[in-house]
């Protein structure tokens, strides 16, 4: 056995072991959900028969349908609005010169870092005074505000990477800045925009704290909030299969998108980050 061959086998071993570790908790919860509710499950157990009844019960008892719809409304709106706003802002920061652009951009970059915890207290009390708590607006508006820093940052990186000569040529042809964006730049921007959309959607879909604070009504809960409350209510009842089924349902939409667009996901979280 050559050294290269040994090294290759070692690589496979390492990758397989850690892939199993990465996927085991997810597999275990799916297996749990496939059990019948009456099954007493302990440890690692593969169900004898495939049973989707638990999913059905969880769907009904957890009111997951409503939660999924709310999450789609919130995540969809946040994603579309912040994608449009970020594309405009990224265009200006990436392809134009204007006074104060550096300062504005740095202020915006702070938004990449600070936690929700730092904003939710005043948001809650101000929204309460405005009568906006316990509405989906209370989730949509702040999350647009917290998504545009990443979106703008991401689109700026894209617009900086497009050849300046394209923009110049278009301007020499007398095109307005908007025509330049729409006709010349956007057709190339779709991969970057897709990545941004996918990531913002995922972050918004998975968000929990804001929903926990803002939403009181049962029928306005987002999927993660509904799931957390459902799990809390089921704790101690030994009904682990039911909670597991609800968890699988809530995670599924993002995982499906991930399976198809995993390159976009991963590139989005890294590229631009480490170009050196």
């Amino acid at each position: 056995m050559t050294a290269a061959r040994r090294e290759q086998l070692l690589s496979y071993a390492v990758l397989i072991v850690f892939a199993i570790i990465a996927i085991y908790p997810i597999v275990s919860i799916v297996l749990l959900a496939l059990h019948k509710r009456s099954d007493l499950v302990t440890g690692f157990s593969i169900p004898d028969t495939l049973d989707f009844g638990t999913f059905k019960t969880a769907w009904q008892e957890g009111a997951l349908g409503r939660g999924l719809i709310n999450s789609f409304i919130v995540a969809g709106t946040v994603t579309v609005v912040s994608a449009v706003l970020s594309t405009f802002a990224g265009y200006a920061f990436g392809a134009m010169r204007f006074r104060g652009s550096e300062l504005l951009f740095y202020v915006l970059l702070l938004g990449l870092i600070f936690p929700y915890e730092a904003t939710v207290i005043p948001l809650y009390y101000v929204f309460k005074d405005a009568g906006l708590t316990d509405s989906l607006w209370a989730l949509i508006l702040p999350q647009i505000g917290l998504s545009v820093p990443f979106g703008t940052f991401w689109m700026r990186a894209f617009f900086r990477s497009t050849p300046g000569s394209l923009v110049e040529a278009s301007r020499l042809d007398g095109a307005s800045s908007f025509t330049t964006l729409w006709r010349v730049l956007l057709p190339q921007a779709w991969p970057a925009i897709t990545t941004m959309i996918v990531l913002v959607f995922m972050w918004t879909w998975n968000e929990f704290l804001l929903a926990l604070i803002m939403i009181q009504s049962d029928d306005l809960r987002t999927a993660p909030l509904g799931l957390a409350l459902f799990a809390g209510a089921n704790r101690g009842s030994n009904d682990v299969t039911l909670t597991a089924a609800a968890a699988v349902i809530v995670a599924l939409p993002v995982v499906i998108v991930y399976v198809f667009l995993q390159r976009s996901f991963i590139r989005g979280m890294f590229a631009g980050a480490v170009k050196e």
Binding site: S11, I29, A244, V274
Partner: protein
């Protein structure tokens, strides 16, 4: 996760040539050092920037400042608040419970940041230079935990750590049943157990990041090291580690911030218990602001937490930037 905001993602591409003066900082055109942005200063740019900046200013930046303002008040959230000066910060400093919550955060940093970065570095350097089929598949699987809602992750791990869950069953199966316990209800093990969940989430991200980074290190450097008779360990410290400086900084920043921000996982799995063994600052922010009616104190905790996050983010960036070899 809303929590998985894209921190640490930095625009290194633009930083490399330090284009401070060239990128329109002062609005004057500099014809010779034109980098990307062509043309004169453009007023129309403000129109493009305005909507995004408006949303950001109103719903993110202003609340941040407002939180700072609230931290100087004694307020129950209902009646009129009274000016308290630095009292909330004094209470924060004096209260052993709050101090401990920050200690818990530092324990989480070890698990969220150091463990995955260390493991990731070692494994990446072990496997980087062998040809592996299905790299895309492995990358996708290792990255999967990043995409799952933290609430779901919490539920999955509550099950794994449950008294009759897979972990304890496995221990019993190999004759270590005496170690079995309800891990998340255990005073000593609850926090490390949650920390390991963080390691699990972050590990794949670090490994994928480092593997990508190693691919960019010129192979000639490794050949040179071999010619000089360097072993694998020397090679790691002389070539791989310096080459991964940027990636390591990004990974450390990202994971440390995630550790400091941890809320969903703890709220759903242990709610800070048993006792206050897993209480972290973000849980205290939530409890004080929305349960206990101590809004000012909650705001002070949030301010300190945010300050810590800024220090980490800028600190790590500074350290990397200062490196003379780049």
């Amino acid at each position: 996760m809303g929590v998985t905001a894209p921190t640490g993602v930095e625009d290194r591409g633009s930083r490399a040539p330090r284009p401070r003066s060239a990128v329109a900082g002062d609005g004057r055109a500099e014809p010779r050092v034109r980098v990307r942005a062509p043309g004169e200063p453009r007023r129309v740019a403000y129109l493009y920037v305005a909507p995004a900046m408006l949303f950001y200013a109103v719903f993110a930046f202003a609340p941040l400042i407002y939180t700072g303002w609230l931290s100087f008040f004694d307020w129950d959230g209902i009646t009129v608040g009274t000016w308290a000066g630095l009292d909330n910060y004094r209470e924060l400093w004096d209260d052993p419970g709050i101090r401990t919550s920050f200690v818990h955060s530092f324990v989480l940093i070890i698990f969220y940041a150091f463990v995955p970065c260390f493991l990731g570095l070692v494994l990446a350097s072990l496997i980087a230079h062998s040809r592996v089929r299905g790299a895309t598949f492995f990358r996708a699987v290792l990255f999967l935990p990043q995409t799952i809602a933290t609430v779901v992750i919490a539920i999955a791990w509550v099950w794994i750590y449950a008294p009759d869950g897979p972990l304890n069953e496995a221990l019993r199966a190999v004759g270590l049943g005496s170690l079995a316990r309800g891990w998340l209800g255990d005073f000593d093990f609850a926090l490390p157990a949650l920390g390991l969940v963080g390691s699990w989430v972050m590990f794949g991200l670090c490994l994928v990041l480092f593997l990508a980074g190693i691919q960019k290190i010129p192979i000639s450097l490794y050949e040179a090291a071999r010619v000089d008779g360097a072993g694998r360990v020397r090679e790691f410290f002389a070539v791989t580690l310096p080459g991964l400086r940027g990636e390591l900084a990004v990974a450390l920043t990202l994971t440390t911030i995630m550790a400091l921000r941890t809320f969903d996982l703890i709220y759903v799995s242990t709610a800070g218990g048993p006792g206050t063994q897993t209480t972290v600052p973000s849980v205290l922010v939530y409890q004080n602001a929305f349960v206990n009616g101590k809004v000012g104190l909650a705001a002070a905790v949030a301010v300190v937490l945010t300050a810590l996050i800024f220090v980490v983010a800028f600190g790590i960036t500074r350290i990397v930037d200062r490196d003379p070899s780049r």
